[in-house]
Amino acid sequence: MELILALAIGILFGSGVWLVLRPRSFQVITGLLLLSYAVNLFIFITGRVHINKPPLTLPEQAATAMQYADPLPQGLVLTAIVIGFATTALYLVVLLGSRGLTGTDHVDGKEREHDE
């Protein structure tokens, strides 16, 4: 499972980096989304990967650390998701504004002379 997760994160991150470096703002925002997925997954697995372990104590069980997953990375990842979501939405608004004002979706706000 660790291998699959690691590969998934790697692929997401790699694709994200490639897309962020593209000239179209839509590609950039897609890249940012992929990058933030990769980062969120990465934060999540720093608490180690467990199966069938809740992050919160259950009332009927004794509280031994072995039975539970680390709750902190899960808390962090929740916050990170919310913040990432909000800032990406903000970028989306700027992207649309730029498209409307400059008439192009190039990140520099103008087309190059001989674009592909």
Binding site: V20, S25, V28, L32, L35, S36, V39, N40, F42, I43, T46, L72, P73, L76, T79, A80, I83, G84, A86, T87, T88, L90, Y91, V94, L95, G97, S98, L101, T102, V107, D108, G109
Partner: protein, 530 residues
């Protein structure tokens, strides 16, 4: 500790938050009311910052570090706010600058778009939060609050230039934030804690494999902070952003790079100071090298700059470079000189940013500059004479204030810039006698020289060769913040002795990390019986 003193630490975060929320509810038509509320709140913040700085200087409680346990959880587990001299000093600087920028915006800038006042307060909340927080994740949250507000402010007065700069600024900062998150995750994986004080106690005890992971984490975190503080290969966003933003916003952005510097200062000395065992001095040479490159880049950029926005930008780059290089140089003796330089250069660059907008009015009557964005925003045409008294002798005022700014920015006598630079050079030559110190001395003098050349060129062009120069109309609300900033610099010059004594105490706080750690970890939650 006496009750209700540490609790004050939450106010610099709550006050802007509540004011910002209140301002969001008021319709844009009530411009004056919004401005007054904003200004009153910002003034209160200044009073609060002065009070907190006075308290952390220790005359009342005896101990100089205030610790507030939010929700009453003991330190490594709960959220903790820590106010020491360094944090409150930066808070004071932020509050001073914010007041000046806000007064300046009254003339017109605040009316060029919606929600300027709300965003302004949220920016202040983010800044104060980042300064006071005692753990890494809350630092991230407050950084995001600060950045989100700065995105909005940068786009304030929406035009093509700003939106183009905004696109780049936002993407760069979003990616830096992702690096920040990666760094946090790795720090947690390596040490199991995110609290600054707890981290500082854990780091000397780490095993070798964990230490490598921690170093990786620190390097990744550094990418995030160094992007914010515009170190050389990471700082390309800065000139574009600074020249595009509206002047009051740029003045606040000048402050934001210093927040990046603050975080590096705090973490570098706390986590990788002398007490850090095998990790002591991690990344120091990199900071030194990066700082030197930044300094060179800034100096060359300054030589090549023609317009005022770029001059201000590259001056900010030079100031960042100087600070980073001094941090990397790693002699504790230079710390107080460095802080003096930081305050003086921040104030001067901010004053310069505000001033250049007025200077540009010599050629382009202000109305034409605003025509586009006003049209875009379908603003009702304001009455020409509406705001404030017009000050006399506008040209003389502009010339004199420009000269003062130039003197401080290039480090010529007799103003605070000279004292800052002189003490830095003095400490550099006294402390060590190696290549690093000589390189730094040479580059600092070179940067000063380029500043003189560039500013003289700009001054000559603006004031002496003006063709159809007509004395621009300056309002009191636009001239007074500039005067205020420069008066602060002059006060710094006159009071340099006491100020240095004070900055020595601030530097001492940074170096005596064990005091910080003890205060944070040993503050007990309030028991219910009290």
């Amino acid at each position: 500790m006496k009750p209700f003193i540490a609790e004050l630490l939450i106010l610099p975060i709550l006050l802007p938050l509540l004011t910002g929320a209140l301002l969001a509810l008021i319709n844009e038509r009530h411009h004056k009311a919004k401005f007054v509320i904003n200004q009153v709140s910002t003034l209160l913040l200044l009073v609060l910052a002065i009070g907190l700085f006075w308290l952390t200087d220790g005359p009342v409680t005896g101990d100089d570090i205030l610790v507030f346990l939010a929700a009453n959880w003991a330190a490594p587990f709960g959220i903790v706010l820590v106010g020491d001299r360094l944090a409150t000093l930066f808070m004071l600087l932020a509050a001073l600058l914010a007041n000046c920028a806000l007064i300046f915006s009254y003339g017109r800038w605040a009316r060029l778009g919606v929600h300027f006042h709300t965003l302004f307060q949220l920016l202040l909340m983010g800044i104060n939060g980042s300064l006071l927080t005692g753990d890494l994740f809350n630092l991230f949250v407050f950084f995001e609050v600060m950045l989100a507000a700065s995105y909005g402010l940068l786009l304030h007065g929406y035009n093509v230039n700003r939106i183009r700069a905004g696109m780049q600024y936002i993407v760069v900062n979003l990616i830096a934030s992702l690096f920040f998150l990666l760094g946090i995750a790795l720090v947690y994986a390596a040490t199991g804690t995110l609290n600054f004080a707890d981290l500082a106690t854990q780091i000397p005890l780490l095993a070798e494999t964990q230490r490598q992971m921690l170093h990786t984490a620190a390097a990744i975190l550094a990418v995030a902070f160094l992007t914010k503080s515009a170190m050389w290969p990471l700082g390309f966003w800065l000139p574009i952003t600074y020249s595009a933003a509206s002047p009051p916003v740029t003045a606040m952005l000048v402050l934001l790079t210093k927040i990046g510097i603050y975080v590096i200062l705090r973490l570098h000395y706390l986590l990788f100071g002398d007490a850090a065992g095998d990790s002591a001095g991690f990344g120091q040479y990199f900071l030194l090298l990066g700082g030197l490159f930044t300094l060179t880049f800034g100096a060359i950029g300054l030589l090549a700059s023609q317009d005022s926005g770029r001059i201000a930008s590259y001056s900010a780059v030079i100031s960042s470079g100087t600070l980073l290089a001094l941090m990397g140089y790693g002699e504790a003796i230079t710390l107080s000189a460095m802080l003096f330089y930081l305050i003086s250069s921040t104030l001067a660059v901010a004053a310069f940013v505000l001033l250049t907008e007025l200077i540009e009015r010599i050629y382009t009557p202000a109305d034409s500059v605003f025509a586009l964005s006003m049209e875009f925003f379908a603003m009702e045409e304001e009455k020409k004479e509406s705001a404030g008294v017009v000050i006399p002798a506008a040209m003389a005022f502009l010339g004199l204030t420009f000269a003062a700014c130039a003197l401080i920015m290039s480090g010529l006598p007799p103003l605070s810039g000279f004292i800052a630079k002189f003490s830095i050079l003095h400490q550099l030559l006294q402390s060590r006698n190696d290549i690093a110190s000589w390189l730094l001395v040479i580059l600092l003098i070179f940067a000063g020289l380029t500043a003189i050349i560039s500013l003289m060129r700009f001054g000559v062009r603006s004031f002496w060769t003006a063709q159809a120069a007509q004395s621009p109309r300056l309002k009191m609300s636009e001239a007074s913040p500039i005067l205020l900033l420069l008066l602060l610099c002059i006060t710094m010059t006159i009071m340099a002795g006491p100020l240095y004594a004070l900055l020595d105490r601030v530097a001492d706080d940074l170096l005596q990390t064990h005091r910080y750690i003890e205060q944070v970890l040993h503050t007990a939650p309030i028991s219910r019986n009290d």
